[in-house]
Symmetry: C2
DNA sequence: GATGACTTGGAGAGCGCTTTCCGAAGTGTT
DNA sequence: AACACTTCGGAAAGCGCTCTCCAAGTCATC
């Protein structure tokens, strides 16, 4: 980074409040008032100021404004992964996953209307985390939406300690007094269990996500509990990492160990897609030989063949809600901490 | 937005440069120099300053710093859609599409290493566009990556006129002197044509994207030209909007009008997925009855059954390259305008 | 016509930082 | 010992904006 005349051709200087004030023949303060619509300014001056704004082509400098108001009109979306480092290929996968896009879409649907921009941040190392929290305390963003990845992440605690308005999507792994929006993952898993047992499956297995992700864990717990209630005290379980590949491998492993399996609950649709492939390779028909229930109801579910019966995860709505929650929290920092839990539903298609 | 003590409990004030200076017993200027590693400061003072930083827990305020340096360490990703308005459902679809995630992933892989954050902006209306450009001229972001959507978008021109460092992903619809990174879409389409004709298809059709998207247009042009060269002066063409649904409908329309179709080039994988469904419904086997080539080589391509033969679109690499290009341009504003065109390749799988 | 209540606009003090300009030391040469 | 040079650190002027004071003006009231 070298110094020097960087932006804009030399001599070209953007009009400032000062310039507008001069043109309008009033003081800086008055222009500021007019522009921010504060207090009753004489209608005549009011008009003169707007004329001057038009003449000069004035646009307020957000940075300067933020410095004094302590408001930036920005919300940070932080993807925190305590295990990942800078060139971790994991992140590539993460962005390609429909999960990310659905979250961003849901957030933007709310933020856009409020004129708030989303700043994407990835933090992996301890240093990045400290730095992020420092920046946030300085009001670099008005608040933050946290997307927590595998592992016990110290970030949620750091954020609450720093008093930064924050909302998590998916509950924190460790109990932390933080706002969050989550899905009743266990209920969703129960729905899958009930359905598989209900259609007469005898040996039902599960392909789960990584065990250190809370959402993944809840799905396992919910599924096991429900299966137990149906008289299946034990269920074969293989875990993957939410990618299609891992789903395929998990299914192969499952088939090898439990050839009689006739029902499987897969903890997300992407893995289910892979599992479907493995079953086809093995010559098993879905749903006749093996019934399958996925999780998420992502676009992959309809794209699959047979189309996946899956647990609907209203991620867009949840993201939108978390944005609203965050905005409310920013507006009123004394707001008490709350969480919103969404109830999943089962979407019936061909696979089970 | 009410006034008042917003951030942070009353009384808690973040340490400033001033505080550090006091603790270290030097002037603000010296602390600034030490922190930014400028000039040779006496090693002893140097250490004292860092100690003071540690003691106070000082973190520089990025906003204040940016105000004077005119550098923000932020790059804006603007999704510009001259036709969309605030509650356009189109945007939801857009984010859910793997395209978006792949771009973000590619950008972040470069930006993250440089410690630059990505600020997501969606602009639809004229007013938003003007405002964005105004903010950018003020240096709200150091530069911008533009993702252009359907239609002839005035944004690229506005950006170059304003002298804002910008790089487009996908060439602009109208000729504008702007840096861009694109794929040789026409070559990709040729690859598909050659392959379909090469395997002996007699009646080859195309399912295209919206005609007002440059990339989509290039694929049509390239395909037609190549088919013509193979003696097929005319190809049936139905256009969709890049969604799976539209692909399914397009395929149905195609089958109704040209029952003898035995080869089809689909302008993206998502639509190909839909087309595959339509073919299955119609009882046509892929690739035996109808051969299909997709475009993008997105995750959908492997997920499909049969897996799609498709034109590989190295979107992540392209996004990464555009980030590098932008960074170079920011560093050296006099850099001459250049574009990088990537060459697509054909990925052979089962569908053709 | 004096008093008080209210409205309106300006001066100016910051927000937290960088950076130019200078004076004060320190170094070396004649 | 006097000179020119270099190095280093401090004072202070901003970056562009908001917002608290405060003075002046307006109007109604007694």
């Amino acid at each position: 980074m070298t110094a020097g005349t960087r932006r804009l051709p030399v001599g070209e200087r953007l009009p400032t409040l000062e310039d507008v004030a001069r043109v309008a023949g009033v003081s800086r303060a008055t222009v500021s008032r007019v522009i921010n619509g504060i207090r009753n300014v004489d209608p005549q001056l009011h008009e003169m100021v707007w004329n001057a704004v038009g003449q000069t082509g004035y646009v307020p400098n957000r940075l300067a404004r933020s410095l004094v108001t302590r408001r930036t009109g920005t919300v940070a979306l932080v993807v925190s992964d305590s295990e990942s480092h800078d060139d971790d290929p994991f992140m590539g996968r993460f962005f390609a996953d429909p999960y990310f896009g659905r979250v961003v879409g849901g957030l933007m649907s709310v933020l856009r209307a409020a004129g708030i921009q989303l700043a994407l941040q990835i933090v992996g190392t301890e240093e990045q985390r400290t730095r992020l929290v420092g920046d946030l305390r300085h009001g670099q963003a008005d608040g933050v939406i946290v997307l927590s990845l595998p592992g016990h992440d110290p970030l949620p605690r750091m954020l609450t300690d720093a008093g930064v308005p924050a909302v998590m999507i998916g509950r924190p792994a460790d109990p932390v007094p933080i706002n969050y929006v989550d899905l009743a993952n266990d209920t969703g898993a129960s729905l899958a269990a009930d359905h598989l047992v209900g259609r007469g499956c005898q040996l039902v297995a599960m392909i789960s996500g990584p065990v250190d992700v809370p959402a993944s864990n809840d799905r396992i717990t919910g599924f096991r509990r429900s299966m137990a209630r149906h008289g299946h005290a034990w269920v074969p379980l293989v875990s993957g990492n939410f990618t299609q590949d891992s789903g395929e491998q998990a299914m192969r492993a499952l088939l090898a160990e439990h050839p009689a399996v006739d029902g499987v609950f897969v903890a997300n649709d992407l893995m289910a897609l892979g599992a479907l492939l493995a079953l086809r390779d093995a010559g098993r028909h879905v749903p006749d030989d093996v019934a399958m229930v996925g999780f998420d109801d992502s676009s992959a579910a309809v794209a699959a063949s047979p189309a996946l019966t899956t647990v609907r995860h209203p991620l867009e709505d949840m993201a939108a809600e978390s944005a609203r929650l965050l905005m409310a929290r920013i507006e009123d920092p004394t707001m008490r901490i709350s969480s919103v839990i969404y109830e999943p539903t089962l979407v019936l298609r061909q696979s089970a």
